[in-house]
């Protein structure tokens, strides 16, 4: 999905008592979005339904994060990530996303369920910095090696701290 929106520096901040909920099919096409999603993304329900979830992808996000996200959830596990999202009007909003697979009664994955909460401001600051470095690394490495390069950077950071990705992310 091509984004023709020019990002601005306007930030929308989530409220403690809300969360954004969305669901997708196996390919990441949106099948449901709650009213908070509609409010923050700035798109109507009709615009959202059937669209790729990357409609709200912000160019500041490194690709490796989404690779990790898809690897994790398609493996049947939950994925937690801080994500900077792009609204239709070019503004951005940070979320703490928890994405889990949806299972049918036979245990097969039928789609994905995402709950995005108001993130801890400290985490946003830290992860913003981490993503900036990862993005730089991706640009330096070139398209083909981008994900490998920034993943390595993230793994180095984690091994320095002696934490797994989940431990690190959930420690804020």
């Amino acid at each position: 999905m091509k984004n023709r929106i020019t990002p601005t520096s306007v930030e929308k901040v989530m409220r403690e008592e809300d969360f954004i909920v969305s669901m997708t099919d196996l390919q990441g096409r949106i099948t449901y979005g709650n009213r908070i999603f509609i409010e923050f993304s700035g798109y109507s329900e009709q615009e959202l339904l059937g669209t790729q979830h990357n409609i709200i992808r912000h160019p500041d996000m490194p690709r490796a994060v989404f690779k990790l996200l898809w690897d994790t959830i398609s493996g049947g596990s939950e994925c937690n990530a801080y994500v900077k999202n792009l609204a239709k009007d070019g503004s951005f909003y940070w979320v703490f996303a928890n994405i889990t697979p949806l299972f049918d009664p036979n245990g097969a994955i039928t789609g994905y369920f995402s709950v995005r909460r108001k993130p801890d401001p400290k985490a946003v600051q830290t992860m913003g910095e981490v993503y900036r470095l990862m993005l730089e690394e991706e640009q330096r490495a070139g398209a083909r090696d981008a994900i490998a390069a920034s993943t390595r950077l993230m793994l180095n950071l984690l091994s320095e701290k002696g934490l797994s990705y989940d431990e690190f992310i959930l420690a804020f």
Binding site: F19, Q46, F113, R117, L170, A171
Partner: protein, 486 residues
């Protein structure tokens, strides 16, 4: 209540008025005649019924969806939602509120399930995330966190107890074997030391007896020296006598010469006869004097000869005694030789025994080092202990056994034995496995059963390698002292 939906009942009601109107128009014909105009009323009513029915159908469109969704929820499935809600009124709000409710329910159950599963997997850092959840849902998740914390605490304690009890089990079993091996070494050392003590006391006796024999020999040799010095004196005296004899012999010789001369003179004087009375008397006197001197001389020779024979018998006696003495000494010396041979024998036995005991005590010491090394590893598992941690950090080249093996007597004295070469690998493995264990202990063993199993595996490997090391050390000593093995 029939199956007929709200919509069909509503349309029933809607269609009632055109039907009623048509009935009225038809009923009025006998009284007022047929009036086409009157038909306009039922026709309008039909149009209104159709219009209203269409509108209602649109307004009610979410109802079957709502119905199906709620039926699904009542089956415990929360994944459905109502989308494409065009209706803005109460029904639209109802749809969105139902979606919100399902979002809350879905998020709540997902959180609950995920955190439970993570807790069971030992990922205690995964708490519930109550942000965005409302009222009872929020409270429920907060309560769940308390519960998870308690579960985590229990699991941690259980895992700790599990690890400690398993290692204790492993330790106790092996420690007893190790101690038994050391006990056996000490028993052999004690036995050998008794032999060494016996040998030493025997050596001491032999030395004591040897000393008495030496005293005897010294006494006898002193006797011989006395006699030799006496013989020496006698010989000196004999020498002096022989000078005297020489002189006497010279005297006798000169007497004989003079007697000859006198005899010649007497012969001459006899030839002159007659007139010789006076002269002959003088000659006769001289001959008498000569005879006297000769007598003296032979007397002194006789004397000398008797002294000589006295001295000779002395010497003879001494020489007999000296021979006896020398014979006796020889016997004593033979005895001494036997004693010294025994002495040497015991001394060399003492040495081999002492050497064996030394090696055995060293091997026992190494075994104790080994046991302590493992004990420290177990202490580290029990709870972090800096000192023990540092102590077990040493590798197989720098522990006592390693130094002995590489640089010390080990290579020099044992290097050519087959067990020496075999020792390196298991010894390295003991250290390697313990180091692997300490690395694993850095990991989340309190939550990860597989990791705990790996820790136990590492220690089991260390124990089995250690058994091999102990065995090889024992064999090393046996191999070096083949005669000593009991």
């Amino acid at each position: 209540m029939t199956n007929s939906s709200l919509l069909s009942r509503l349309s029933g009601i809607l269609w009632l008025s055109p039907v009623a109107m048509l009935a009225i128009v038809v009923a009025s014909i006998p009284f007022r005649g047929f009036d086409l105009f009157l038909l306009a009323f039922p026709a309008m009513a039909v149009a209104a019924a159709i219009g209203v029915q269409l509108m209602v159908r649109r307004w009610m469109a979410p109802l079957p969806k709502l119905n199906a969704l709620i039926a699904e929820v009542s089956q415990g499935r929360f994944n459905g939602r109502i989308t494409e809600v065009s209706e803005k009124g109460e029904l639209g709000a109802l749809c969105w509120n139902l979606n919100d409710m399902l979002d809350q329910l879905g998020a709540f159950f997902r959180e609950q399930e995920t955190t439970f599963r993570c807790n069971l997997d030992g990922k205690f850092y995964r708490h519930t995330m109550p942000v965005g959840l409302h009222g009872g849902f929020r409270k429920g998740l907060l309560n769940q966190n308390t519960l998870l914390e308690a579960m985590a605490g229990q699991k941690r304690a259980a895992m700790y107890t599990g690890l400690v009890s398993r290692t204790h089990h492993l330790n106790t079993a092996n420690l007893l074997d190790n101690l038994a091996s050391n006990q056996n070494d000490l028993k052999v050392i004690t036995d050998k030391m008794r032999v060494v003590t016996e040998l030493a006391s025997k050596t001491c006796e032999d030395a004591e007896a040897g000393k008495a024999l030496v005293n005897d020999v010294v006494e006898r040799l002193t006797g011989i020296t006395d006699r030799i010095s006496r013989a020496n004196e006698t010989i000196t005296r004999l020498n002096a006598r022989s000078v005297e004899i020489n002189r006497a012999v010279t005297l006798i010789n000169s007497i004989a010469d003079q007697t000859n001369l006198l005899a010649l003179n007497a012969a001459i004087e006899a030839a002159r006869a007659g007139e010789a009375g006076r002269g002959f008397a003088v000659v006769a006197d001289e001959v008498r004097k000569l005879a006297e001197s000769t007598k003296h001389a032979s007397e002194s020779i006789g004397q000398i000869m008797s002294t000589l024979s006295g001295e000779t018998s002395y010497m003879l006696k001494d020489s007999v005694e000296m021979r006896e003495s020398a014979n006796a000494s020889q016997a004593v010396i033979a005895q001494m030789e036997a004693r010294f041979t025994q002495f040497h024998e015991s001394a060399s036995q003492t040495m081999t025994n002492a050497d064996y005991v030394h090696d055995l005590s060293f091997s026992s010491l190494v075994k104790v080092d080994h046991v302590m090394y493992k004990q420290r590893a177990y202490v580290v598992i029990d709870g972090q202990n800096e000192e023990c941690m540092r102590a077990i950090g040493v590798d197989h080249n720098n522990c006592r056994l390693g130094k002995w093996y590489n640089e010390g007597e080990g290579r020099q004295l044992f290097g050519n034995l087959s067990s020496y070469g075999a020792l390196l690998a298991p010894h390295a493995k003991v250290h390697g496995s313990v180091h692997a264990m300490t690395k694993l202990m850095d990991g989340p063993w309190q939550t990860n059963q597989a990791l705990q199993d790996k820790i136990i595996d590492a220690m089991e490997e260390a124990e089995s390698a250690s058994r091999e090391v102990m065995d090889l050390i024992g064999r090393l000593v046996d191999e070096k002292h083949p005669g000593m093995v009991l």
